[in-house]
Amino acid sequence: MRDLTQARRGPLLKPGALVKTLPPATRFILRGGPAVRAAAEQALALEVPASPCRAALDGERAALWLGPDEWLLLASEGSAASRAPALSAALQALPHSLVDISHRQIALAVEGPAAETLLAAGCPLDLDARAFPIGMCTRTVLGKAEIVLWRTGTEAFRIEVWRSFAGYLCAFLAEAAHGIG
């Protein structure tokens, strides 16, 4: 039998200026109440934010608040970083939902002094650092696509987008780059 476990192929993307694609990642959507959050935090040894629109980052892992009972858990692929088995075990007794969506979306990085301006071509949020500080994350819209936007640095954002919208998003940002002067 053939082994295709290394044959992972993401969508073909042509990111424009200021945009780059990030490597594949392991992703889970965790749903549940405060007890689930607390249990997950313990099992992962990672802050799972209780505050709205905040992300916690620890090395190769992160937890992003997406809703009052919804978190996006990220870990770099291949490592045991996701600690998925431990998490499942810890949540066993609690009403919750844990769904692997590693392949549902891909990640882009938008970086540079013009990052805010570039995103402002299609994102209606106030991206000024005073309104959207480092560590803030939220689902929002960019052009005609839904994204998760996470500010990872003064001039750096991470975008998570469903894979079939990634081509559109790259093209949109490439076009927008012509207009940021």
Partner: protein
């Protein structure tokens, strides 16, 4: 493009939201015991209020939560937004001068 105060995420632009129609219409259960007219009222009858209108919004492209809002349909200004679990605030008196 309105600005809407999501009870969870704060003030956000309208494109992140989906309108959900009139609020506080509970689906009668079990539906089988209702008369045709009662069921029709649930399905179709709407206040279409001119003034303070209680309505549902969902922060679909945000936290995903439904919530309720009180909006003046003669100005489109929101008087309040509140979680589903919260009772509706009383609409303010006729004029806010």
């Amino acid at each position: 493009m309105l600005l809407i105060q999501c009870p969870y995420c704060g003030e956000r632009p309208e494109p992140e939201f989906v309108y959900g129609g009139q609020a506080h219409i509970a689906r009668p259960q079990p539906s089988a015991e209702l008369s045709d007219q009662e069921w029709t009222n649930f399905l179709y009858r709407r206040n279409n209020t001119r003034g303070a209108h209680a309505e549902r919004w969902r922060h679909t492209h945000g936290c995903g939560r439904f919530f309720n809002a009180l909006r003046d349909t003669t100005t489109d200004h929101f008087l309040a937004t509140y979680k589903l679990s919260e009772p509706p605030p009383r609409p303010p008196a006729e004029s806010a001068e």
